[in-house]
Amino acid sequence: MSADFPVALILIAGGLLLPLLPGRLRAAALLLLPVAAFAWLIALPHGEHARIEWLGQTLVLVRVDRLSLLFGYAFLIAAFLNAIFSLHVKDAAQHSAGLVYAGSALGAVFAGDLLTLFIYWELTAVSSVLLIWATRTERAYRAGMRYVIVQLASGMLLIAGTLLHLMQGGSLHFGQFRLDGAGSWLIFAGFGIKCSFPLLHNWLQDAYPEATATGMVVLSAFTTKLGIYALARGFAGAEILVWIGTVMTLFPIFYAVIENDLRRVLAYSVTNQLGFMVVGIGIGTELAVNGAVAHAFADILFKALLLMSMGAVLLRAGTVKGSELGGLYKSMPWTAGFCIVGAASISAFPLFSAFVTKSMIMAAVAVEGHAFIWLLLLFASAGVLEHAGIKIPYFAFFAHDSGIRCQEAPPNMLAAMALASLLCVGIGVFPAALYAVLPYPVDYVPYTAAHVLTQTQLLVFAVLGVFYLMRSGIYPPELNSVNLDFDWIYRRLGRDLAWTSAATVSRWLAGTGRAAESAAGGVITALRRHHGPDGALARTPPTGSMALWVMVLLLAYLLFYYL
């Protein structure tokens, strides 16, 4: 074999060819491609492969080290689980998009230079939005459009930052950055969007829950974890991340209590879990970074498991609104059981995965003496138990019997959930296996009497707190509603401002004499020529064309810069 062959192409090319295959062969390919890529990864020697000299810079298409391998393994396990989970789906476009998306995330993780990273980065944006649009509703279309604009903006920040970094005497090499110039700050912001930093987070809660039942499972694995990988590679030890991460663990837990859409609750949970990883990266010690990436690995699995159970509920019951569900354990006992395994894993009960991963981050925070941060993270951990540990299984499968009687999830979905459950418990029971592939040597013992006791105490009393509030009628009921978050700024305020200013401008134009009027007429005619019903720019929706033209302009700039 040649180590120079980019492993991402196995999934990307496979994904593109997939729709050409007939039914059974397509299913086989869907399952085998991640397995083949995994085998390829195991055989890859460490080091930089596929080096290309280009315009005085070195591109490294495949960089293999412990950090990239860990995320590579996680992504391929996720791709395999996704393949099983979505095996019943007839829509070839979704399978194809899912594989290309997984492949581009894989390519980004193995990219050794910023330009290669950028190309895969944008490819993840373009391929993943198809999983949202696959819902085929107006609502999903709009949410997908907002999503892809934000994702492409993240790529724009990355490439703009890269160019500035080059102009300031840096190279294309993707290594550790210092936050000391505009270039590295722009790259930091680009990564921050993918990691759903506070105020940059809302694309996630807005768009993910609009994806298909299987699509959201796929989405949860790659984009945000790619952000975490990039942050761990580029900004480990950046102090500001400790604070950013702590805020990320906190604000979503309040929203999660009052959110009615259970998949949106899990979307808030994504940001919350990423927060713990971001704190670990910010601390930057070997223990902390190990904890952050180990937790990313565990999170890919338990979040997939939880979302799979909600995907199965969406498929069978037709809704994931807490206000409409309840009592489903009678119809879907297996799904309920797997959901509880996911809930226990994310809540960090002993013998489940987060107990052995998140605790490394907590320990690292304590070792560095950040008492206040530690207390806030402990509070956020109790919050995780509330929304992901109790709320998700409770309102879907227990609570008041909604009267919904449906079939158990299809066999392929149950198989995927069973495998994910096995992995979650496997990591919890045999942490040494995961610890062995972490970037740094592990000198941490998760199973001590004190750790088991304190964690169980925290969780059991948090459960008691929730049930006490429920039984005394204080707990807020699930209501059909939406909650305003930062997206209000661009979904409502921005729109209203645009309308108001357009009206003001047109009034002003009407008030200024014929000359201005004819000038405006000229502009309108020109606009109509390009943007009107037959205009060249109207062929894609206006927001899409904007993102496209920005991308074209920046790529042209990049090209001319080198020429």
Partner: protein
């Protein structure tokens, strides 16, 4: 309801039994604190029953705060479609 009361959890007295059992478990865990020797990085974390109290109070504060947040941010389901 077609399947009546054949499920164990359908009976309120069983749910109450479960709830009481959980309190008993909590009490046992707090008592275990007396026998397990803990080295905590922060002095306050070593206080008797610290994690239990923090978990319970934390959850109650969280839920009450979220209820208050609802008054500020909750809108009708079709808010963005209008």
């Amino acid at each position: 309801m077609p399947d009546g009361n054949k499920y164990w959890l359908d009976r309120p007295e069983n749910v109450a039994r479960l709830y009481r059992g959980l309190w008993a478990l909590g009490a046992a865990l707090v008592l275990t604190d007396l026998v397990v020797h803990r080295h905590e990085d922060f002095g306050f974390a070593g206080w008797f029953g610290f994690h239990g109290v923090y978990g319970f109070v934390g959850i109650v504060v969280l839920v009450l705060a979220a209820k208050a947040l609802r008054r500020a941010v909750m809108r009708a389901e079709d808010y963005y479609e209008r």
